[in-house]
Symmetry: C2
Subunit: 295 residues, 2 copies
């Protein structure tokens, strides 16, 4: 696990180079939307989802340049979701990773449009012939990302999260919410490797199982940090879940119980990848590594 | 031209049946976003873009069921753009086609999410195997729609339209704005036929030329109606362009000059389709028909 921070940094550098190429250069009378897209995207994110794409692709011998394009697609899609979630009519956040959010740095209208444009760009990247020779593979990537991020995926999760009745949620509802809101994109990121490698459904299902457990570990850690950390460390407001009366696994199980559950899930996720031996240790180590993060 | 209203109505019925099938049925804790997607989509629109898809597909012998799926994709994408354009931070419209806009009928947050979900659904429909047997065709549709609707297409046009400096625009800038904001989707709608029919680039270019002229005819008519019509007839506020100091071809050329230009373009558009003879008269007649519309 010692090499994971370096591996994460290397993946981030690679995907940032790809993002630099695929994001439109600011030009013309509409340059403002290009600038806002770049502002939102180059904001010091961890690039965790591209890391998952790159390493799941490695398991199946996929060309890293192609995997990096899929990583860039998932990252611009993730970025759009942050830009829209931060809007005044949603979470109304002024700060993200210690910087003004996009609608503060620009304005609301530009933030809506930049988010829309990032979402659209994600599909443009996937459908472009540079991503894979096979049109079947490219359409499969588009279809799966659309399902994962649409009304019955990430957006559905955000809709649930924005509604008031959460104080009545039990752990089934909370797990469903998280699986949609953040889990679906992690699942796509891990499934992208076997799709790019044209591997069997068995491999796709295995990587999805891994992602499902890992996503929940990630979310529980996020909720633990919201309770125990400081704004200085995380670069965003903390204590918000409690203030907003949101149910989380931490509020339902207590911090110790939630942490124990996350450890169990992290171990199970690692075990799911046992059939691949030690081919990509970075992926196997990731869930336990996430559990110990501080931001 | 006598049969055009009937042909438009028949195309609208066909695409509405497809939309009914592809839009998610309201279910679960996130039913509200499904309901808002349907509210925005089934709002009495003319379904002009699906009409273009169906008829350009007819020229190339494409199965109407497939063309109707592409028509549904372009219609949900068009609907998302209306939902987001109507938001308070953009055009701030309370009324569309005589009904409350989505953020009035629901709320802003739901309107943002429903728009995002409709945009995502457009790509999901195109990438699904039911749309075409060939993955190459499906990815080509995704790629072209993403380009037409993204930061250098429709969204770029909306960005320009939302900026203040329009009073200084000449006709070159106004034509560029309209070509991006509304023209790009018309171009995709007409190009979809030859893409689905796996026709040559020559055919694609011809249909795009037709669409470019037709799109400008449509826009000039819109601008003329804004000057000459009533809210009762158009189902939306009129006189807004002048109130907002927006340059249009009507403000630059005068109503008579703009109408003459639109007639010239409508005739040129029809002539572009001469190589197809009388195979699809509905398409040939459409530009001149649009010029005479009252809403």
């Amino acid at each position: 696990m010692a090499g994971l921070p370096q591996a994460l940094a290397a993946a981030a550098r690679m995907v940032d180079e790809t993002l630099e190429r695929v994001l439109p250069k600011p030009h013309g009378l509409h340059a403002r939307v290009h600038e806002a897209m770049r502002y939102a995207t180059f904001a010091g994110g961890k690039r965790l989802r591209p890391f998952l794409v790159l390493n799941s692709a490695k398991l199946f011998g996929v060309d890293p340049a192609r995997a990096s394009r899929v990583g860039a697609a998932i990252e611009v899609l993730h970025t759009y979701s942050l830009v829209h979630d931060d809007l005044p009519c949603m979470d109304d956040d002024d700060l993200r990773r210690g910087r003004p959010t996009t609608h503060i740095a620009y304005d609301e209208m530009t933030a809506v449009l930049a988010g829309d444009a990032l979402l659209t760009l994600a599909f443009e990247i996937l459908a472009h012939p540079d991503t894979h020779d096979s049109g079947e593979v490219r359409s499969a990537l588009v279809l799966r990302l659309a399902e994962a991020s649409g009304a019955n995926g990430m957006i559905g999760g955000q809709m649930i999260d924005m509604q008031a009745a959460q104080s009545a949620f039990g752990s089934d509802e909370v797990i469903l919410l998280q699986r949609l809101k953040t889990g679906a994109l992690f699942e796509f990121s891990c499934e992208a490797g076997p799709i790019l490698g044209q591997a069997s459904v068995e491999h796709r299902d295995r990587l999805k199982s891994f992602a499902r457990d890992m996503g929940l570990v990630f979310q529980i850690t996020d909720d633990l940090l919201d309770v125990t950390s400081t704004a200085e460390k995380t670069g965003k407001a903390v204590g918000k879940d409690k203030d907003q009366g949101k149910a989380t696994l931490v509020s339902l199980m207590g911090a110790d119980g939630a942490r124990a559950e996350a450890e169990r899930l992290a171990r199970r996720a690692a075990a799911t990848l046992a059939p691949y031996g030690n081919a990509v240790p970075e992926l196997v180590d990731l869930p336990l590594f996430l559990l110990d993060r501080e931001s």
